[in-house]
């Protein structure tokens, strides 16, 4: 029974441990949003202050979508990248807890934090390749 549990756990966890989560394109999308929105958007967005960042990013991106009235395709692209990272259980996006520990920030602060999170995942993916 114990052996079966260990094997089952190994089979379940191994794919997650070996999961690569590159999001080079995500970095490009966020950089473009920073250049485009930092002047025009004045929002107060939740900037995650702990490792559980996905809910906060989703909430902030949702606010940005509403603010743009759903016309900015680039925001949808970022939302889809975050969702795919979450679906792949990538480390920085695997937390499912509500967005609690946050600090308020503007669009620039929020997007900069999101870009840094993408870049950390890229770094982890490169290390796995090595």
């Amino acid at each position: 029974m114990l052996l079966a549990t260990v094997l089952a756990s190994a089979l379940f966890l191994c794919p997650l441990a070996g999961q690569k989560c590159p999001s080079t394109v995500g970095v490009f999308y966020v950089k473009h949003l920073i250049q485009k929105l930092q002047v025009t958007h004045c929002l107060c967005l939740p900037v995650p202050s702990d490792n559980c960042s996905t809910p906060c990013f989703q909430e902030g991106l949702s606010q940005m979508t509403n603010f743009s009235r759903g016309t900015d395709t680039n925001i949808y692209q970022v939302i889809k990248i975050v969702k795919s990272q979450q679906k792949k259980n990538c480390q920085a996006f695997s937390c499912g807890q509500p967005c609690n520990q946050t600090t308020d920030g503007n669009v620039l602060t929020f997007l900069t934090r999101l870009r840094e999170t993408f870049q950390k995942e890229n770094e982890r993916s490169r290390n796995k390749n090595v």
């Binding site: 080079t24 759903g70 016309t71 395709t73 949808y76 692209q77 889809k80 795919s84």
Partner: protein
């Protein structure tokens, strides 16, 4: 491109391309797909819950327009099934279990192509869909431009245009005086270090709408009053001139050589016996004296006091003068010596086969035997010494008849002295075999 089987059993292909934003176009190529109803495709997203999209083929083409929240990203994947209605029954076949849009991209052509012609160039600008602006670094363009009356097949192309949305066409690239038009297409390109999960692949987009522009007004180059000559009118006289110059150079070359050598003095003045008795035939002259010299050379050791008349006679007129500095002098000439100061070089050592000429490479430097006159005010650089050396009498003035006749073993040397040897008169005496590393006849006038 995915191969499926049509209703009639024949093979067919379904190809789905997307613009990497919101549209997926699928094409059917193969036999007719059915008659009861138009076939249709169902695209089911693996990433978006409930993302199912249907498109019906019309003339072999169906197109899916995704909602904005389902904009395509590299992580998207779909399963595609082909649905057919045959005799009132729906049949489905799996076309593609995992369709990755990022590997089947055909972007929309660039839009808003505009031109702005100035005096030196024409600036072309264009736009891409705002959804693709973040990926501008991955966009490569190809430009085609031509004169307006030409077909597009003859257009000139420019590629390797990556990551920009403007291009300059220099005036020199365009035919002057003709209106032009240009068009553009785009594709996704990526570097090799891009992660496999995010690598884009695809084909060129369709060409954009062309833009028309006038040729930039280049400043007119200066033209002669008779107008700008045709190229052939310039080339033909040019080649004729070249041919004429070549002919003249070949024709005049002998005359030029002759003119250059007209001031070379005749040696007849200095070799009177040679010219008066032997008509300038040097070999005849040397043959006449060889017998006498051989006999005289044998007599020298026995009768050192007997002078060799032939040798003296031959050398009598060997003098240097400003008009003819020296037989082999190149720069300076030593002071003129008396007729007794010179010996015919190698006269005493010629063998049975006299040389017809003096090989310069066999001239050997002769060490200085005595310093030059203290009042000598001309500098020595390179000069030749023609004379005889007397053993045991280094201080004896060279060229004196006395030294010649008293030498026990006397050879006549014609030597070339380097300038660094110091002042040296043209005549010097050495004994045969005393030159280091040389044979008795080396450095002397011996063939």
């Amino acid at each position: 491109m995915t191969q499926v089987r049509s209703l009639q059993g024949g093979p067919g292909n379904v190809t789905c391309l997307n613009n990497n934003i919101l549209r997926i176009d699928c094409y059917w190529s193969g036999p007719e797909l059915g008659h009861d109803a138009d076939p249709w495709l169902l695209l089911t997203s693996h990433q978006v819950p409930g993302g199912r999209h249907r498109c019906t083929f019309r003339a072999g083409l169906c197109s899916v327009e995704l909602p904005p929240e389902e904009v395509l990203v590299p992580t998207d994947s779909f399963s595609i099934t082909l649905h057919l209605c045959i005799a009132g029954q729906e049949r489905a076949s799996l076309v593609e279990p995992q369709y990755l849009p990022r590997r089947h991209i055909k972007l929309d052509p660039p839009s808003g192509l505009q031109s702005n012609a100035s005096s030196d160039y024409c600036l072309l600008t264009w736009r891409v869909n705002p959804a693709l602006e973040p990926l501008e670094a991955f966009l490569a363009y190809e430009l085609a431009f031509k004169r307006q009356e030409e077909p597009w097949q003859r257009a000139r192309h420019k590629d390797r245009i990556v990551g920009v949305s403007r291009l300059v066409l220099e005036a020199a690239e365009l035919a002057p005086g003709s209106p032009h038009e240009a068009r553009l297409r785009v594709r996704m390109v990526q570097e090799e270090d891009m992660p496999e999960d995010e690598r884009y692949e695809g084909t060129w987009s369709e060409w954009s709408l062309p833009v028309h522009f006038a040729t930039p007004q280049r400043p007119e180059p200066w033209t002669p009053p008779w107008g700008q000559p045709d190229r052939s009118l310039v080339a033909v006289p040019f080649f004729l001139l070249l041919i004429g110059l070549s002919y003249l150079s070949f024709k005049l070359l002998p005359r030029v050589k002759q003119a250059c050598h007209q001031h070379v003095p005749s040696p007849a003045v200095f070799f009177q016996p040679l010219y008066t008795e032997h008509h300038g035939n040097f070999q005849t002259w040397t043959g006449t004296h060889r017998v006498g010299l051989q006999l005289g050379q044998a007599d020298i050791s026995a009768q050192p006091a007997a002078p060799e008349p032939g040798c003296r006679e031959a050398v009598a007129l060997l003098t240097c003068s400003p008009a003819w500095p020296c037989l082999c002098l190149e720069e300076k000439c030593p002071p003129a010596l008396g007729s007794e100061d010179m010996w015919p070089t190698g006269v005493l050592e010629w063998g049975d086969q006299p040389p017809a000429y003096l090989p310069q490479e066999e001239w050997a430097p002769v060490p200085p035997t005595r310093p030059g006159p203290p009042d000598s005010d001309w500098s020595y650089s390179d000069y030749c010494a023609l004379g005889c050396h007397e053993e045991g009498h280094p201080s004896t003035p060279l060229g004196h008849t006395q030294s010649l006749v008293t030498a026990p073993a006397l050879t006549c040397g014609f030597s070339w002295h380097q300038g660094d040897l110091g002042p040296q008169h043209g005549a010097s005496c050495i004994e045969a075999g005393h030159l280091p590393n040389q044979g008795p006849s080396e450095g002397l006038l011996s063939a």
